[in-house]
Amino acid sequence: MGEQGAWRRCRITGVAAAIAVTFAAAGPADAGISIYGRGLADEPVPYLGDEELPPPTPPILLFGNPFLSTGPIDSGFELPTGAVWQPSLWVFGTYRTALQSFDPANGPRVAEWANTLDLYANLQLSATERVLLGMTPFRRGTSFSGYRFDGPGPDDGEGFESFNGSVQTLFFEGDFGEIFPGLDRNDSDLLDYGFTVGRQALSFQQGLLMEDTAIDAVGIVRNSLTAPGIANIRLSGLFAWGEISRADAVEDNDAKLFGFSGDADIGSHFVSFDSFYVESDDDTGDGFYFGAGTVQRKGLWDSAFRLMGSIALDDDTPAVRSGVLGFMSFSTTPKTSDDILYINAFVARNEFTQVARDPVVGGPLGRAGILFSTQRLGQYGAPLSPRAKNVAGFTVGRQWFLVPTNREQLIVEFGGRVSWDDEPQGAGVAARYQIQIHNQAFLQFDLFGTYVDDVEDGFGVGARSELQIKF
């Protein structure tokens, strides 16, 4: 890239950043189309019925009782335990296809057409008991089926397939009290123990602490408990024995995970606490992890504060390092709009590493903003590094809902990160536009420009378009 090109990109980035700051700083302004501020209509509003409302959108395959559709419901059969099961199978999923060019500040450019299909078969036995089977037939790890126009590696300039027949999700979940109602006819023996067993996705602290899509685990949960001043308490225990992709996104076959998770509604606060211990061999190391968060609304502002820690119980390894991450987010609704104005900030000391993460999850900072998150499709990574090592950063953004049904949206975000270590630091601006084009499909367009300090060719740009179909 020549000097002229770099200057052009710099200007684009600067202008975009200025626009972002302007929009965001505008804050409470009469912008956007909104349901708010109109007040109640004095005259009757025309009744919207079948002609005006979206048609039912059932799963693509159905066996047994309909999925939230009208008609008789089969009475099912009674188990010897007294439970009544009404089996139904529903097949559903999401298909995503994108044309995208990702040219990060500190990495090679990738231009590609990438596809992924998340396909699920849900065998619903009762309202609480079910078996879920999931596959990703167009994706294998970080490799997605499609065509690569430009990029590193042997696949340049040709199509490639990443067909995958393996099971990504297969678990059973249920409620002990519902499976054995005969043991507690008066519903007074506190048998409401929920449980889950099998390969499943797990996420804690909104993905900051753990974000994995396939872990072999068993969990047990007790919910709807109360205590003085606490409207609800949930307590969960977890044990995982396989398919644990640790912080380096490498599957650790020797790892065993033990976890405890809980949350509570205390006054106007939602307080959560999660802790995990991972035991493994000497190469990857044992680790202890914790996360605590509180979410609340004060006045016109919603806020969340989270603190996460990872402790390598042996030496630091790529799988686990010692560090802490503080994360906070604030959002509000600007005057006479339904939009979201948000400010997120984070600070990490040493290197905080997640308990486990899917390879397509770039790192723990993904929730900080669209600048820090990957697209989880193809090689389009995070514009700014989501790694949480001796770094502080922020994002400021606004999400406009452009039509009253919210089916057309625009996000413009500005953010950056600074480091007191040898980690990349920089800033950027990103935008995302989404529009519904069908009852089951929408288009998404992303654009970003970044500048990263102290690296060769520090400017990064990316653009992509995506079609997502739900069924």
């Binding site: 559709s69 619903q124 009290g177």
Partner: protein
């Protein structure tokens, strides 16, 4: 042929009960070989003529009103056991079917053999019918607010909410395949009965926490029903058919009755209520948790001397609404004016916080009202203006005009008579509602902490009076329970307000339209037990929303089964409820501070505290108004009715002096 015969009867003025009986006789003569039920349905199909004509309703009312709503069954002398008696019973049910505006005759006929009307049960179970007729169960499908909410949800979620909400509100309507979006004007009358008799007494399995996705057994009036005590008493009645004049087969002459009562003990177990009153969406979102809350409550865990805990039914179907205080005792049925053996009686009103906001000609369920006019006609009857009262009619200008159905002054008087009875029933329901709410919410002490020239500090305790569940419970994200606090100076002028309403009828919380438009400041000291939906933002944290559609994180939100274990985390990743209820027997304390700048400083002051409950906040009405409301109600009408329904449960006043 049948139609002509009936028109002949009508032409000769045989309207009201005589006319109905005559028409039934015609049918019986003309169609001797046709099963009685079918013949009766044919009669029903012709009722439209009668209903839409200019029948002086006073004729009907004189014969039917008191009996249906309050009095005992007519004696055997006045109701001879004959085909006429049978027809009378069934006619009431048929009249219910005849009222709605667009139900096909075949559909109505078909449904009577599948899902009998509550009006058919009323013939023998008058007491239960009366309680049910004004209940929230009976109102469930009528609610314009509910209907708008679920259509709004379908609009915003690509139709994927489907019948999730409405399946609870009208299990029969959904079973017969009605569209969730259909206008209530056009629904089948059985659908409009909401949680009607058969939706509990024809459910033969304990489905558990199934969010109302239950199977309602089909069968005619003659088929078995389910009850907690079996059919011992029914067998006695059937052994004495000469006394009770009952028949159990179509075509037989007498009073139709079900052949058996299958003992189904789960009806009196909490889990039966939990089939609907614990609502979890397929994506794992826990919308309502009343039953789960109960299972962890002292009421469920503590046992009396007999080793029994309290059940939902103990507190909500007993003599006192909201307390375990025993049940009534008496005959469960009056068959042809003869009482059955006394037994435990349950209250089928099930008091709760909801109330009707629709025209009283439409709700409560009333056979006379349905016979007199269609719903579209009733909404044209301006009862607020005084139609049908002497004060209005005697002062009527000559050029006054009325809708076609209400041109006759006799009709207006007759309608007013019906509405007066409806209002009595609504007033009774209000008392029941206040009873359950006052048992659920207690206003504790108002404690003055400090009062000097720097300001006033005081606190107010609000307690949960129940052992059975959190309060509020159920649909907690829309239940208003707030303190209205006024501090008055010695001149009676307010120096502090909290819990006052904005111009839209909302408290000044962060969802108030006036607050959002910055017209009034947010009520920072508001005490409100309303929980809120929280949805995940595209990035960052969460935000409160009035409805749980996670459109920030997903431009095309769908309802699909959760792709991860929702049980383990207790909620989907994108949506939850911030619960602000009070745990059983627990309390919360509201702390208030009045700034010294607002005070005159010296003199007498008064603190007035009211504990107020409301059904739904008006800001929700503002949000969902674009899909329109049933019964041609304007959003303003809905909002005004909701505010009018705010109830002050408790009030306390303390006076003090700043020296």
């Amino acid at each position: 042929m049948i139609g002509n015969a009936v028109k002949f009867i009508d032409r000769f003025g045989m309207r009201g009960r005589p006319g109905i009986l005559a028409r039934a006789l015609v049918l019986a003569v003309i169609m001797p070989g046709v099963p009685a039920a079918v013949a009766q349905q044919d009669d029903m199909l012709l009722e439209g003529d009668l209903l839409s004509g200019e029948t002086p309703a006073a004729d009907d009312g004189g014969l039917l009103d008191g009996d249906l709503l309050s009095g005992p069954e007519p004696s055997m002398e006045s109701a001879p056991a004959s085909r006429d008696a049978m027809t009378e019973a069934e006619t009431e049910a048929m009249a219910v079917d005849a009222a709605p505006d667009s139900v096909s005759a075949h559909q109505a006929l078909f449904l009577d053999d599948r899902f009998p009307s509550a009006a058919a049960c009323k013939t023998c179970h008058e007491r239960q019918y009366r309680q049910w007729s004004v209940s929230q169960h009976a109102y469930a499908q009528f609610s314009p607010v509910f209907m708008a909410m679920q259509r709004f949800s379908n609009q915003r979620m690509s139709g994927t909410v489907g019948d999730f909400c409405i399946r609870c509100h009208t299990p029969v309507g959904m079973t017969i395949g009605e569209s969730p979006n259909m206008n209530n004007y056009d629904r089948h009358p059985r659908s409009l009965e909401g949680i009607t008799c058969v939706t509990c007494h024809r459910v033969s399995a304990a489905y558990g926490k199934v969010s109302a996705r239950i199977s309602v057994d089909e069968g005619s009036l003659f088929d078995d029903v389910l009850g907690p005590e079996g059919d011992k008493e029914l067998e006695r009645v059937l052994r004495n058919r000469d006394v009770y004049r009952v028949v159990t087969e179509p075509g037989e002459s007498g009073r139709p009755i079900h052949r058996g009562v299958e003992r189904f003990f789960p009806l009196v177990e909490p889990g039966f209520c939990g089939s609907c009153h614990d609502v979890t969406m397929p994506n794992g979102f826990r919308l309502e948790e009343a039953f789960s809350s109960f299972k962890a409550s002292p009421a469920a865990l503590e046992r009396d001397d007999a080793g029994n805990g309290a059940t939902c039914q103990d507190c909500h179907m007993g003599v006192v609404q909201g307390l375990k205080a025993g049940y009534d005792f008496g005959p469960a049925a009056m068959v042809g004016g003869v009482e059955t053996e006394p037994r435990r009686l349950t209250n089928h009103y099930f008091a709760g916080p909801d109330f009707s906001i629709v025209h009283p000609g439409i709700f409560p369920h009333n056979v006379d009202a349905k016979r007199m006019a269609t719903m579209r006609e009733w909404v044209q009857f301006d009862y607020d203006a005084g139609w049908g009262t002497d004060a209005f009619e005697n002062d009527l200008p000559e050029d006054a005009t009325f809708p076609e159905r209400w041109r006759s002054i006799d009709d207006r008087y007759a309608a007013r008579e019906i509405l007066d009875e409806q209002q009595k029933l609504l007033d009774w329901a209000r008392e029941q509602r206040l009873e359950v709410l006052r048992n659920g919410y207690k206003l504790g002490d108002v404690t003055l902490v400090r009062a000097d020239r720097d300001g006033i500090d005081f606190n107010v305790e609000v307690r949960n009076g129940t052992t059975g569940h959190n309060v509020p419970t159920g649909f907690i994200a829309e239940r208003l329970v707030f303190l209205r606090v006024t501090v008055l100076d010695s001149d009676g002028l307010p120096v502090f307000l909290s819990g006052d309403l904005d111009a839209n009828g909302d408290v000044r919380d962060s969802h108030s339209l006036s607050v959002l438009s910055r017209d009034v400041p947010v009520d920072t000291q508001l005490f409100n037990l309303q929980s809120h939906f929280m949805t995940l933002n595209n990035r960052g944290g969460e935000r409160e929303q009035l409805l749980p559609t996670p459109y920030s994180v997903d431009v095309l939100p769908f309802v699909r089964p959760s792709t991860r274990s929702a049980i383990l985390i207790g909620q989907p990743s994108t949506t939850r409820i911030q619960r602000k209820s009070i745990e059983p027997l627990g309390s919360k304390t509201a702390n208030y501070h009045v700034d010294g700048d607002a005070l005159i400083v010296y003199g007498d002051y008064t603190i007035e505290v009211e504990l107020v409950v409301g059904m739904i906040p008006n800001n929700l009405i503002n949000t969902i108004q674009d899909v329109g409301f049933d019964f041609d109600m304007s959003p303003r009408q809905v909002g005004d009715a909701l505010v009018a329904g705010h109830e002050t449960l408790w009030k306390k006043t303390i006076a003090f002096e700043i020296e």
